[in-house]
Symmetry: C2
Subunit: 243 residues, 2 copies
């Protein structure tokens, strides 16, 4: 079978990432609630860069060295010893503009380092706030793509799957997709797209409940809104910068 | 939160099975195309038992010892050295009645042994041909449940997810379900239920294509038909027997 389109796969959990060849691929790190939404927002609001680190200790140490903002969560709450959390609303332009954010989160930043260790060709981050920027970039590159869902402690979640489905829905004509996970993602997205928030609520999504119990409805609604922080965070030399 | 209902989870791939506590649970092994459909059919047609083994060598050795039918596939084709394959149509009553089937398959029998190694409380097998028997059993037991999808070489597939969704849809009122994978499965099933075959085809399911390329449309259609071999295969002392 001849097919000159690049392949696209979706990895529904970090525990499935090893099934896909990342070497020549663009890996899109997806952690909708809330790491990658917050990364897009901070960069959109003028942060110089976001440095994702995989432990609280590294976050504190690096923050001190470079005089950056230390931020992150464990289990959905601000991690002990850090100054700020993982809410996009903590990073308005007047606060984050020109600054460096050092960020560690339960799932998203861990997946990013996993993709790095597995030799990903390029790493970008995706979320509804920068959906269009992600799709435009993937369409411009003509490279294989792996949509990597951060999930929750390796358990598949609805919101990351919905974002993967939104991407599949927008770029599928330009990729060769022989991947049931991608089809599942798009099917779910098509069911949900009219009102993503109502869908999350009606499906009793576990992360929806976790964040609602912390009073974070506003965060959820924002993180499900397309194209409100439409930049492409690209990982280069240890930093996420705006392409 | 008090909740006296037992929990239900869905593991979308063998590579995610370790995330769930199997000790007190009934694990439903799901390999719709075609291992668990064939197991239900052989037992429905009067086979004495089905012995699932995890290698072709063991299959041949055991088949010789007990004068059983050696059967199985690797990559969808009859494995070298075995007499029969993994099609339910190979096991009509007049052939399989009273006999023992020794079966090895790419994904389903491997998952069963993995669940066994992880200390599963009980193991049963599920497929559309025995959907109702599975649901009735789960409802009768009042135990935690893990729906274990065999997938394809650890990659999530549509058909096993559809079956998990069919089960969730029928039993959900009687379980506590805080599991996005189960919600995703049911959502997909609700989209597909009117015509599972058409859904598989329209979604370009990878296994649909694999089996169609071997001329196995009839197998696919049968394996997506509910309740045509409505027995409950229960694993006991190394054998799947009818409860």
């Amino acid at each position: 079978m001849t097919n000159s389109k690049p392949v696209l796969h979706t990895a529904l959990s970090p525990a499935l990432l090893h099934l896909y060849d990342l070497n020549q691929a663009i890996v899109v790190i997806i952690d909708v609630l809330r790491a990658t939404s917050t990364i897009a927002t901070a960069l959109y609001n003028g942060a110089k860069c976001v440095i994702p680190v995989d432990s609280v200790a590294k976050c504190i140490e690096l923050g001190r060295q470079i005089d950056g903002i230390t931020a992150g969560e464990r289990d959905g709450k601000i991690a002990e010893g850090l100054e700020y959390g993982n809410s996009p609303f903590e990073y308005p332009r007047e606060f984050v503009g020109g600054k460096t954010l050092v960020l560690t989160t339960t799932n998203g930043t861990k997946l990013l380092h996993m993709a790095l260790d597995r030799g990903a060709g390029q790493i970008v981050t995706g979320s509804f706030p920068n959906l269009d920027a992600v799709c435009q970039y993937l369409l411009s590159q003509n490279q294989p793509v792996v949509l990597g869902c951060a999930a929750w402690k390796d358990r598949v979640n609805i919101e990351d799957l919905l974002f993967a489905g939104a991407v599949v829905n927008r770029v599928k004509e330009h990729f060769h997709i022989n991947c049931d996970s991608s089809q599942i993602a798009e099917t779910l997205y098509l069911d949900a797209q009219k009102d993503l928030y109502a869908f999350m609520k009606s499906k009793n999504a576990s992360h929806y409940h976790r964040l609602m119990s912390y009073g974070l409805e506003k965060d959820i609604r924002y993180c499900l809104t397309p194209d409100v922080a439409n930049v492409l965070p690209l990982y280069e030399n240890g930093k996420l910068i705006v392409l």
